[in-house]
Amino acid sequence: MNFQRLLLGIQGFWADRGCVLQQPYDLEVGAGTMHPDTFLRVLGPEPWRVAYCQPSRRPGDGRYGENPMRVYKHYQFQVILKPSPIDVQRLYLDSLRAFGIDPLEHDIRFEEDNWESPTLGAAGVGWQVVMDGMEISQFTYFQQAGGRELAPIPVELTYGIERICMFLNDIKNIFDIPWNDAGITYGDVRHREEVEHSTYSFKEADVPFFRTQFDSWEKEAARLVEIPLVVPAHEAVLKCSHLFNVLDARGALSVTERAAFIQRIRKLACTVADAYVAQREAAGFPLLTAKSS
């Protein structure tokens, strides 16, 4: 199964189960969780179901396109179901069946793996889903986000689709993944970008420029949240988060400085979360009114 067919299959599966089929967020993010359709929508009492593929940047994971597994940017397929349905494990396993994985031919296990995002003030409890010894998904019941205890509880399913595609095709190198059936590979589409972004993050990113930008976006986020312009404020926080990741990959931050940066981003994320809930409450939590899902 080629990469784009897998992506279409997984989208179709969740679209058929009442999810809003969203598109990737158009800013640099480290994970699908940072997309406002996850980070903001999991807050407050309103139900929500969404699915999307989110290209996620991890500057520290760049390997100049030379490592068969690790990349600067990978595609995370993200599903949020809020409140978590009681049969969510079955739904998840059905999604694997949908792209040709027969659980009777594999060893699929749910192994404890709790998730925490210090920068988002978020934490969850769950598992890594391990298939035949390989981690293929993260499965997390969010307990807090933006420093707030959550109720109802959203469940987040995150698929590492490159991993799954490599496994399905018995491929050892991520860049050999067939993107489509016309002979185009993952490497044809993405390799150059990996080389350049690794070089940029590790060697070329201008540290003083990134620091100045961080300070500016931090101020902007604080200003926007006061107005309040919640989504623009959230985007300013995402900018800060990405700038921090690059500074970190660049080796520009000492241990204590790193902790201080995380605290600064967390503080902003929490104020954005509060502003979002206040805004939804003022609007009467519109999605609480009976909408069939």
């Binding site: 068969p68 597994m69 409140p83 978590s84 349905p85 009681i86 494990q89 659980p103 009777l104 031919e105 594999h106 060893d107 699929i108 296990r109 749910f110 192994e111 404890e112 709790n114 409890v125 598992w127 298939m131 035949d132 010894g133 390989m134 019941y141 307990q143 959550l150 109720a151 109802p152 509880i153 469940v155 496994f167 018995d170 050892k172 241990v255």
Partner: protein, 691 residues
């Protein structure tokens, strides 16, 4: 009729590390619910599996019979007036009890006559009792990490999927964490999908086995061990056993199977420690030992005993090769620099925010290792080896391998030193200085390794307690208590003449560290199975409470081991009893007795006097030679003469004050000998205790 009671809480996958404790907690709660209501029941047991916690209680009564409860109020004299009518005191009592004062009666008791009444307690069914108390009790279960789900109303280790509650063949209707009880359990998630309908509480284990769930941990473990052995044999080798790993994987699966994977033989160039740890740490896989060395193969545990398409083997091999590649990369990188050159890099690794870096710690440990080595002397160890090992002990913390596998700290240092041709004694001391890492682990194999292990722990204890990080209650984030236990074991097993006072002096950290170590010594002795009375029996004759710390740990331990051999010995029970009688007699006040000669002429008294004077010097000699079994044997010889003395001789004879004095002096002499090395009076009533 009494019937077994079965509970099963079906959950999404429970973390392996929490399963056994959670199942036991559930058992205690079910039994407590029965006991609190007074429901008759038999033995109970708990089972834990990946997706379930279960408890069965044998022979549980179906009902709690009704009863008459006697409620007593004020004394009759105060409750009834002369006219026989209830007084205001009686009215107040009646109101509080919610009854009409006129129903109060006079009731005779052992303590006098009271106003009171009988209240009928209605019979209750088992179901009523459990439905009233168990839901709140189960909801209050605590876990290392709990969670909420759905609307967020319930809290448990993982979302609850089903609840089975059966008394005999009947469903006990109740609701746990929002889930109503029934008789439908669930089998293996993939191998036996669909409900497992339990007809009776008795056939739980069998019903689950049919549905491909081995719920008995020993059965699961045996199946797994057999599968591991068979697969290893298939690869022409034997399993590298690892109990901790087996404990973990056995709770990760319901229907254990094993897949044999292979990797390229070129990876066997890696040190075996690194290979084995890579497989264990990342893949929870076992290594295989071939004829002379490790085999290029591994065993992964799966939650199924079949692999029809070979996917499971292939997937595991793929991941293992990636991990071994990483390990090889780190091993090659780490060897590009000498270990000694890394000591400088420890400056950027924080030991503790108030105590600076590991480079500073290294300097303290090196100085301490020298001090300890000097005190023990050149006959015991090579001082320069210990000092050099102290300098290098922490340098592997900045290697890539330890970054990847923290559990290989020390071992990596030793491997790198061996690879660069350093003296074997230094490499071994560095490699072993974290030992013992657990109660099952051995202490370092060389004296130099032991000295570095002592110095490292003493520095950690002294410095952290000095910085205000002493453990409190259940909080011991730096594992200082375990570190203290390691100190005691090392000095005791080495037989080094080191007392807690010496350890505290080396540790620094002042009175707080000193008090901590003394407190830990007591706890450590208790942890080793000695009773508080045995410890007291050893301590009291020798020293006062404060000075116990001045006694070498090994000597304390040796004496305790001897005292513990007295458990259950009838002759010593007799001696203890007789010594207590001596105490009583000597404690009796007597009028001052005039001096003056008294010639004892009672044959039994003279026999005891002779027996004592014969034994006393031999006991002192045995004690001086630290031959405590001989001390006890000699003491045993005193039992008969002392017993006969009490049978035949009147000690306190009011008509004969001089004889009284002489016989009291004899008993005082005997007691002083009997309690000279061990205060056996502490052992009264201890005969039945077990190690």
């Amino acid at each position: 009729m009494n019937q077994p009671l079965l509970f099963e809480i079906g959950c999404e996958e429970i973390p392996a590390r929490m399963i056994a404790a959670a199942a036991e907690d559930l058992r205690l709660r079910v039994v407590a619910a029965l006991d609190a209501a007074g429901i008759e029941h038999g033995a109970s047991r708990a089972w834990g599996g990946t997706r379930r916690l279960a408890v069965r209680v044998d022979a549980v009564a179906a009902t709690l019979p009704g009863s008459d409860q006697l409620v007593l109020g004020p004394p009759a004299a105060a409750a009834f007036g002369k006219d026989g009518l209830p007084t205001p005191a009686a009215a107040g009592f009646a109101k509080k009890q919610g009854i009409d004062p006129s129903t109060l009666q006079k009731i005779e008791t052992d303590k006098g006559v009271y106003a009171g009444f009988r209240r009928a307690v209605a019979a209750q069914s088992l179901e009523q009792v459990l439905a009233a108390s168990l839901p709140a009790s189960v909801a209050a279960m605590s876990f290392p990490k709990a969670m909420r789900w759905g609307m967020g109303t319930h809290r448990f280790v993982r979302p609850v999927q089903w609840v089975v509650a059966l008394h005999g063949g009947a469903i006990v209707q109740l609701e746990l964490l929002g889930v109503p009880s029934g008789r439908d359990s669930d089998g293996h998630r993939f191998l036996a999908p669909g409900p497992v309908v339990l007809e009776h509480a008795d056939r739980y284990v069998e019903a689950l086995r049919t549905a491909r769930v081995l719920i008995e941990p020993p059965e699961r473990r045996a199946a797994l061990t057999a599968a591991l052995d068979a697969a290893a044999q298939g690869a022409g080798g034997t399993v590298v056993t690892d109990d901790a790993l087996l404990d973990e994987v056995v709770d990760l699966v319901e229907w254990p199977g094993v897949v044999l994977g292979r990797f390229d033989a070129s990876f066997l160039d890696l040190p075996p420690e690194i290979l084995v740890t890579t497989l264990k740490h990342h893949q929870k896989s076992f290594s295989i030992r071939g004829k002379d060395a490790l085999a290029p193969a591994f065993l992964s545990v799966a939650n199924t005993d079949r692999d029809p398409a070979g996917h499971i083997r292939r997937g595991n091999e793929w991941v293992v090769v990636g991990r071994l590649d990483d390990a090889r990369f780190f091993w090659n990188e780490d060897r590009k620099r000498s270990l000694a050159s890394r000591v400088e890099d420890l400056k950027r690794v924080t030991f503790h925010k108030k105590l600076g870096s590991y480079e500073e710690k290294t300097r303290r440990v090196t100085a301490l290792a020298s001090a300890i080595g000097t005190k023990l002397g050149p006959d015991v160890l090579a001082l320069d080896t210990a000092a050099r090992a102290g300098e290098l002990a922490k340098a592997d913390l900045v290697t890539g391998l330890v970054g990847e596998f923290p559990e290989l700290q020390g071992i990596v240092g030793g491997l790198l030193l061996s690879a660069e041709g350093a003296p074997a004694a230094v490499a071994s001391a560095v490699a072993e200085h974290y030992k013992p890492v657990s109660a099952q682990d051995s202490i370092p194999s060389t004296p130099e390794g032991c000295v570095v292990a002592l110095a490292d722990r003493l520095d950690t204890i002294g410095a952290l307690i000095g910085a205000g990080e002493a453990p409190t209650g259940s909080r011991d984030p730096f594992a200082l208590r375990r570190a203290a236990g390691g100190l005691f074991r090392i000095v005791a097993e080495r037989g080094w003449p080191v007392a807690v006072k010496d350890l505290a002096g080396w540790a620094g950290g002042g009175a707080a560290a000193s008090a901590f170590l003394e407190d830990r010594l007591g706890n450590w002795l208790l942890d080793r199975g000695f009773t508080a009375n045995e410890i007291e029996a050893v301590r009291r004759p020798k020293v006062d409470a404060g000075a116990f710390a001045g006694w070498p740990v090994g000597e304390i331990l040796a004496r305790l081991a001897i005292v513990a051999t007295l458990r259950g010995r009838a002759d010593f029970a007799k001696l203890v009893e007789l010594t207590k009688r001596v105490d009583n007699i000597l404690a009796t006040a007597t009028e001052a007795v005039e001096g003056g000669a008294y010639a004892e002429n009672h044959a039994t008294a003279l026999a005891l006097d002779r027996a004592h004077d014969d034994l006393a010097p031999r006991i002192r000699a045995a004690s001086a030679a630290n031959d405590f079994p001989a001390v006890l044997d000699r003491l045993g010889e005193l039992v008969a003469p002392v017993a006969k003395f009490f049978d035949d001789v009147l000690v306190l004879d009011p008509k004969n004050p001089a004889a009284t004095r002489w016989r009291r002096e004899l008993l005082a002499k005997v007691r002083s000998t009997v309690t000279r090395d061990f205060d056996i009076r502490e052992l009264a009533g201890q005969a039945g205790s077990n190690r």
